[in-house]
């Protein structure tokens, strides 16, 4: 069947252009991209009206937690990919801190099998760096790669042993896996539950100093310099680590970085009233850091906007603040919060799409990130003008732990397509 998407503004995040074009899709492949109304189709074709909307390559979220296997009461691969598609994501990479950990072929294969069954957004598993995320010995990177993993990370259990991290960086490169580092010096962060600063002092919660992140960011930069191999830094949140990344990139060290919408939208004040929905690791920072994150995005020091989608149920969140789990969901808020930066003039629409899609594809080494003739029709139609109150009944994730509930948002995914198949379409 032929599908025509007509009347939309096509965003090319590589040439940084936007123009009105129509897209003709057949058998899941983009057949033609042509100027408006230049295409003739028969009556059999399905026509999707994208007028007034943006047509972007399918968004790719390179940092998520899907909780399956093991914590299906928080999220499953089916509910997670559905929520992702509603947020405009046609593909997501999922971290290995499941139960069992994704530290071997069988778990990676299981995840891919479940993703196939769900039939929504594509799923790219990230394997563990170390067996059991224990930081002791490397997992079988080659085997993980063959099973379908695209990267390796110990994410929430950062590798403390610098030699092990060095070897992971060296060895992963050979197998085409990107090593992703959650930067946290645990000797500094242990016991802390929020950013250490004026707010933690005022509300009497144990703090995590910002330099807990900076120190490890610098270690990874030093290891990337030593080995000459790429490292990706997850969820950057401090002004100081962005400055370190800026210098590393100037020096030509192969380091890339992501941040998340909460680090450019919220500050540590969001935890006031012991709001566990705003408890996240790394913790929300100061307005000064928020400005630095925005500047880092504007200047290209930060390559990617990911969500770090981390579903937790009431069991983990409706408890004392220090006992609550770290993390917040993010699939359905990432796009509107990023569009806010476009409206603020921090970056263009094309740059925003690059950070939500193209750059993630490049870093993970996966297809997508551009709309090209002859390639799979993974795309997202964005309605940038739709304003709405974000309420929990809109959340498709199994968990509702979002600090953005009750906030007015602008911009939404109208339609998400994966390989020519519509996996999400917003009711008009």
């Amino acid at each position: 069947m032929v599908t025509l998407i007509e009347g939309g503004r096509l965003v090319d995040p590589v040439n940084l252009t936007e123009e009105r074009s129509d897209i003709l899709i057949e058998n899941g492949i983009i057949l033609k991209i042509v100027p408006r109304s230049a295409v003739k189709i028969d009556n059999q074709a399905r026509v999707i009206d994208a007028s007034g909307k943006i047509v972007a390559p399918g968004l790719i979220d390179m940092h998520t937690h899907l909780r399956e296997p093991g914590e299906e009461y928080k999220e499953t691969i089916a509910t997670g990919t559905r929520a992702a598609s509603a947020g405009g994501f046609s593909a997501i990479a999922c971290m290995p801190n499941t139960d069992p950990r994704n530290d071997c072929r069988s778990v990676t294969e299981f995840i891919l099998k479940q993703a196939e069954r769900a039939g929504s957004a594509r799923v790219y598993p990230i394997g563990a760096i170390s067996i059991g995320l224990k930081g002791e010995c490397l997992t079988d990177f080659g085997d993980l790669r063959e099973a379908g993993a695209v990267g390796v990370s110990d994410d929430g259990f950062p590798v403390e042993n610098s030699e092990l991290m060095r070897r992971a960086i060296e060895y992963s490169f050979h197998h085409g896996l990107i090593p992703i580092s959650h930067c946290e010096d645990r000797s500094l962060s242990r016991g802390g539950v929020m950013h250490e600063g004026s707010v933690s002092t005022r509300v009497g919660l144990p703090g995590i100093p910002g330099c807990s992140e900076d120190i490890m960011v610098y270690r990874e930069i030093a290891l990337a310099r030593l080995t000459g191999r790429p490292v990706h830094i997850a969820h950057v949140s401090t002004a100081a680590s962005i400055e370190l990344l800026r210098r590393a990139k100037d020096e030509g060290i192969p380091v890339t970085a992501e941040t998340t919408p909460h680090y450019f939208t919220l500050t540590h004040s969001a935890v006031a009233g012991y709001n566990t929905a705003a408890k996240v690791n790394p913790p929300l920072k100061t307005p000064y850091d928020v400005e630095a994150v925005k500047k880092g995005l504007a200047e290209g020091v930060i390559d990617v906007i990911a969500t770090d989608h981390a579903p937790h149920s009431y069991l983990e969140k409706d408890v004392e603040f220090d006992k609550a789990a770290f993390g917040m969901i993010g699939f359905q808020t990432a796009l509107p919060l990023t569009l806010e930066l476009v409206r603020e003039g921090i970056m263009s629409m094309a740059e925003a799409v690059a950070k939500l899609s193209t750059n993630s594809a490049r870093i993970l080494g996966v297809p997508g990130g551009r709309l090209l003739e002859g390639k799979a029709a993974d795309l997202t139609i964005i309605d940038p003008e739709h304003s709405y109150l974000f309420e929990d009944h809109l959340i498709l994730s199994k968990s509702k732990n979002s600090p953005f509930i009750g906030m007015n948002l602008k911009g939404i995914a109208a339609l998400t397509m994966v390989g020519g198949k519509i996996v999400w379409e917003r009711a008009a």
Binding site: S200, G207, D318, E320
Partner: protein, 313 residues
């Protein structure tokens, strides 16, 4: 007469200066009850108060219990070890179960900052925060304010130092908020490891030398060095703490003659305070304890006494 409109006491931030005055005035009229032969009035007859202590406490728990009984309320005590907490029940579930038994007020102490706030959000019963983690201890702060006002006649314009582990002290945080509200000038002092980041934002001065901290001050409040809270990096040894940050007669030479010395207890004699200072003429430490009962009677009366802002017999 002014009205006391609060349902809970969670933080000194929630109280206006007028609220604080009302509490202290009410405490003043209730204090005499404890000195009578028959130490009981029927004011809270038929009311029930649950003392829910997740953390060990002798003074605060006894003080609330006596306060409630002197007002004829029925009291019930729960501790972490005796509650379903050890069986894995969540705090909210325990709270909801307690509420289902229809008490009028729950006094809670908990090791997690914000735990009373969590309960207050989900329950209808009145909650008094009797110490939450390293956050606040408002009833202690109110008894401190009461004691200072009683001794100095006012809180306005006083120079007050707090010495000790400011970072991990709920007494310090509540005292700072309360004293600043009432117009006192507050200085904090301790080793740099115990001074929390950006404490200046709370409107206090910071010094690191106890001699400087006591100089010219009207009131010096010492904090207990909480041995059970320390990891091993905050200070090298008790001996070192005592010699560089402890209050002893030598340090007291820098103090004004009419300074008063306060301590929320329990004291570590020979660590943050030497025995001769603790037992000396300037010490009002035991008066704090007596005033604590009066202040807690006032809180119970104002929160669940029914005739809000009415007269106390």
């Amino acid at each position: 007469m002014k009205n006391f409109t609060h349902r809970n006491l969670l933080s000194m931030n929630d109280l206006s200066v007028e609220d604080i005055s009302l509490i202290l005035d009410t405490a003043e009229s209730l204090k005499t009850i404890s000195r009578r032969d028959i130490k009981k009035v029927p004011t809270l007859r038929g009311k029930s108060v649950v003392n829910f202590f997740y953390e060990p406490s002798t003074r605060t728990r006894t003080s609330f219990e006596i306060a409630a009984k002197r007002l004829s309320a029925d009291t019930f005590s729960l501790s972490a070890s005796g509650s379903s907490f050890v069986k894995g029940e969540t705090l909210l579930d325990t709270g909801k179960n307690l509420q289902a038994m229809r008490p009028d007020l729950i006094v809670i102490r908990h090791s997690s900052s914000g735990a009373p706030h969590l309960l207050a959000r989900s329950l209808d019963v009145s909650i008094i925060n009797a110490g939450d983690g390293i956050n606040e201890h408002p009833s202690q702060s109110l008894l401190d304010l009461y004691t200072i006002r009683e001794k100095k006649g006012t809180l306005q314009g006083l120079q007050i130092s707090i010495i000790g582990d400011i970072a991990h002290s709920r007494v310090a945080r509540s005292d700072i908020i309360g004293l600043k509200k009432c117009g006192s000038k507050v200085t904090v002092c301790g080793p740099p490891t115990m001074i929390p980041m950006d404490i200046e934002d709370m409107g206090v001065d910071v010094v690191y030398d106890p001699r400087e901290a006591v100089r010219g001050k009207d009131v010096v409040i010492l904090l207990r060095i909480q041995l059970e809270r320390q990891n091993k990096t905050l200070f090298p040894s008790l001996r070192e703490y005592a010699s560089f940050y402890g209050l002893n007669t030598d340090v007291m030479k820098n103090a004004k003659k009419d300074v008063i010395i306060m301590h929320p207890g329990p004291m570590n004699r020979g660590v943050e305070i030497s025995s001769d200072v603790a037992d000396g003429a300037s010490s009002v430490i035991l008066e704090q304890v007596e005033n604590g009962v009066a202040v807690r009677m006032a809180l119970l009366y104002l929160l669940i006494g029914g005739a809000k802002g009415g007269n106390v017999n």
